[in-house]
Subunit: 562 residues, 2 copies
């Protein structure tokens, strides 16, 4: 047996971390292992009982290290892989998930004096508490004509590093003051592994208001937001920023021994999870939109030209593949909506019947919803359970279901929710095409692309586009492994370029979902209705969703649950 | 023991019929008995399997007779009542529930040749299939300047006799041709009991487009709807119409013997169930609105003057109490929405926990929803699960929930649904007061007024009005018994007038629900939001709900369930 060259992809999702071992020559996925974060996502209180403000979602950064000692050895054991076969590794991470640290990388939440302060933890991507801060940032940037706005479709998101840090400065100035560094969790992990603080251009570009040509926002702009914020870039960020596929450094001895790897192998700079998934879908051309379908959905498409497109979350030159401009959009809740539905809206007898039929709940629901022809639920929904990330970029928006009658069944609602997320994706696609960025075919990967045939067919029928599926069920982890292989380079068993690496390591399934013309015709009519309510509630005709949040914030609070 | 004078109230609801025995002097409710209709409500198919069109709700008229032989003897047995103590009886009935019969009163559905034809059965009040017909009737009446429209707030309802019969003529001309009579089920029952076809002014006035001064709509108007409809009034209705409290005749021997009553006792003309409930709430003055809270809600208020109020379902002079004009409005689904919610939206663990706590499901839900302060659910709903009866009178409208997030709990939705029905009631109240008809206090009766304290408090808080509760838990049946006592008259142990009868026989509970000012202040803000979406979807800015129905009707149908 010839010597294998294996790249390790480490994929840090919202709930779990995964290790994937991939042969850099054949693309064989040799083994994988996964582990949940011991503390999960902290949304109501810290482990010590400290309550959290609404819209908060935190993580404990120590969890990212703890799981490493499980998933890497477990994957190696499962694949019969020896340390010397693993030639490099890459990391993909949710973003923008940011944390404050000391100059040596110690997270502030690890210090006893800060362990009860929520602002010392990782602010996870889906934390939306910085909505007031981002509104202020948007308003000021617009008033001042800040050019960086055009890289973000004209609006920043509350999920990003700057609004999150501005809120930290406002609400917990002692944390802000103590932070020598504010850093993306993906960059922080790479720093731990190789001992060097090298930041990812992908993360800085899409989530950190950085661009290769213009750098970060100006001191003047930051000072106008808050006098104490003026020095943020100089004091707490670094300009040591590197492109995808570059090695950030080599694996430290201590971590090599904890994971059972060889010390000194290259560690690639971190990549945003959805961007890694593009590589995992073997997409390296313009006009092919990749949907990373998970708890939320990320939409990435490349185009030859840079268009100052509005309503797109991020526009980064060479963002994924050199020579192409990468456009990122997103829906802030997709799988999360379906999970909410099954946890909060399903009568007992559905679980009972699913069990009797030997199906899981989603499988049973899919079998029922598949029997409902397009248009027959009588329902339409707006997919804004966690706000709208694109094209409106407004976290204060919320979900809506319309058309309910006394004969509406749970499966009608389930189907309407799937359709709503498909309409949301079509609104994103249309936003691209109207501004001259073609979207010809769809490529999907992620948790929802594996088994949910109904959802995939509905996406094809609603968008009127062919839908291809990544061969790998771990597209993001595969993308991380590809980044690892490129960081190693061709001399040492890795790959010279991303084009070469994706060709060798990634592929598509045979099954393609093709739009059904009759279904597409009905969905065209429903989409018109979707757009009407989308515009009414999303673009200011009716400010109902925002008003409800204001009324909620002003009214007597709930008694806290004990 | 002095001889008791007892009146029998027969209350025909949507699901069950009830007998109530009441002392005409003391008002003591001596005994009651209830029975469900053997065939229930037929909504998907006839007993022989014949499928029904959407929006259909039928009953088998034979069920109305079958239950009589149970409930009357059962109530008499339970109360130790002898036949000679019962001096008269009254009947209240859902309306407009209409059926076609032969000249001798035989329902067409009892004839073998018609038993598989849905149009030969009772079209229950909540049957909304005649929506297209009522739209045509409204349009034509408006174009022709028909004056009867002003008695119905400017719009007729698909629930009423004329649109239902027009649809019968269109869809089942053979049934229309065979019908010697088209009659309200309440009138039909009275006909069976006393052998004489005497129609109720209450039913004819509110549901049959009849008024004392102008009679029925003109032949010309009917002919313009359909040539075959021209003779409807002359051929299939009677002008033998009588006011509330008048005897329709005396009890026939055959039915006296089946029920165990004395033959020859007076039978009062039928009264609409919600109108009977006004009497059962002891309301006989202007400015007091009675809410009959059940599967749907009926709103009745009296006023000294006749106002051509728009958006009111029915306006009838002397409609309840002589000398006052009675205004009726309604919400087509209230308790039905809550039942839909518990059947279709509640996860298994709610039932489990309710059982562990020894509460019924509604009791447990109420305990959870009561912990949510006004405004804290973040939700707002439109209570149109079964269309809007007042003030928009549009059965094509449907339900909406807005403000949903990933943290929305079932009890948040439950509370929002209760609030939505309260906002719907406030919209009806405001529609009265804006047009000069005062609504000072609320009086409630019916199924939902008995135990649902949270709902009652929310209604007081939303409307900003004091809420009184009928002492009787059977206000409609009590009203029927009052009508029976008035039909008997004062000479023979009954009562001379309604004022005397309600004084003797009806009353209120001690507990009054008083609006909480802080809650009312929050609800004023939420009501503004409610009105915004009410106007947007109800008054034509967005035609989404109607469009969804059109798309549904045009798209491929569901496979029928086997």
């Amino acid at each position: 047996m010839p010597k294998r060259h294996i790249s390790l992809g480490l994929d840090y999702g919202t709930e779990t971390a995964r290790a994937l071992l991939v042969d850099t020559g054949s693309g064989e996925e040799i083994a994988t292992a996964v582990a949940p974060y011991p503390h999960g996502v902290l949304e109501s209180h810290l482990p010590d009982g400290t309550g959290l403000e609404p819209e908060t979602a935190l993580q404990n950064p120590n969890d990212y290290l703890t799981v490493l000692e499980q998933i890497v050895p477990n994957a190696m054991r499962a694949g019969g892989v020896q340390a010397e076969e693993i030639i490099g590794l890459g990391v993909d991470f949710t973003a923008s998930s940011v944390l404050p640290t000391l100059a040596d990388g110690t997270p502030l939440c690890m210090l006893p004096e800060f362990s009860s302060n929520p602002y010392s933890y990782v602010k996870l991507w889906k934390d939306h508490a910085a909505q007031p801060e981002v509104e202020e940032m948007n308003e000021l940037a617009e008033a001042r004509g800040e050019t960086f706005l055009s890289n973000y479709g004209g609006r920043l998101s509350p999920e990003w590093m700057f609004p999150k840090t501005l809120r930290m400065l406002r609400k917990a100035p002692e944390i802000y003051a103590a932070a020598d560094r504010v850093i993306e969790a993906g960059d922080w992990l790479v720093w731990q592994l190789c001992g060097e603080e090298k930041r990812s251009a992908c993360q800085a570009g899409y989530k950190g208001l950085w661009s290769k040509s213009a750098g970060y926002p100006s001191k003047d702009y930051l000072a106008a937001l808050h006098p104490g914020f003026a020095g943020f870039v100089r004091e707490k960020l670094t300009l040591d920023i590197h492109s995808l596929g570059k090695p950030a450094g080599s694996l430290r001895k201590s971590w090599a021994s904890k994971m059972g790897l060889s010390p000194g192998i290259p560690v690639a700079v971190a990549v945003i999870d959805a961007h890694a998934a593009v590589l995992g879908c073997s997409v390296a051309e313009a006009g092919k939109m990749v949907l990373a379908l998970g708890t939320s959905t990320c939409h990435l498409v490349m185009h030859e030209k840079k268009v100052q497109a509005r309503g797109v979350a991020g526009i980064v030159e060479d963002g994924i593949v050199p020579g192409l401009v990468a456009y990122e959009s997103g829906q802030s809740a997709v799988g999360d909506i379906f999970a909410w539905f099954t946890q909060n809206q399903l009568p007992a007898h559905y679980q009972e019947t699913a069990r009797q039929k030997g199906l899981d709940l989603f499988g049973y629901l899919e079998s029922l919803a598949a029997e409902i022809p397009p248009g027959q639920s009588g329902l339409i929904a707006l997919d804004w359970w966690n706000g709208n990330r694109s094209t409106l970029m407004d976290a204060s928006l919320s979900g809506l279901i319309l058309g309910l009658t006394l004969t509406t069944q749970p499966e009608d609602i389930y189907r309407a929710l799937i359709e709503a997320t498909a309409f949301g994706t079509l609104a994103i696609i249309d936003n691209h095409t109207k501004q001259g960025i073609p979207v010809n075919e769809l490529y999907v990967c992620g948790g929802l692309s594996e088994r949910n045939h109904l959802l995939l067919q509905i996406y094809a029928d609603v968008t009127g586009r062919r839908l291809n599926i990544a061969a790998s069920s771990q597209a993001a982890a595969l993308g991380a492994a590809i980044a690892g292989a490129v960081a190693v380079g061709s001399g040492k068993g890795g790959n010279a370029t991303f084009t070469e690496a994706t060709k060798a390591m990634a592929g598509l399934k045979d099954k393609i979902y093709v739009p059904n013309p009759a279904a597409h015709a009905v969905y065209k009519k429903l989409y018109e209705q979707y757009l009407n309510i989308y515009q009414t509630f999303g673009q200011g005709t009716l400010n109902t969703m925002r008003s409800l949040r204001e009324i909620k914030n002003q009214a007597s609070p709930r008694r806290s649950a004990d």
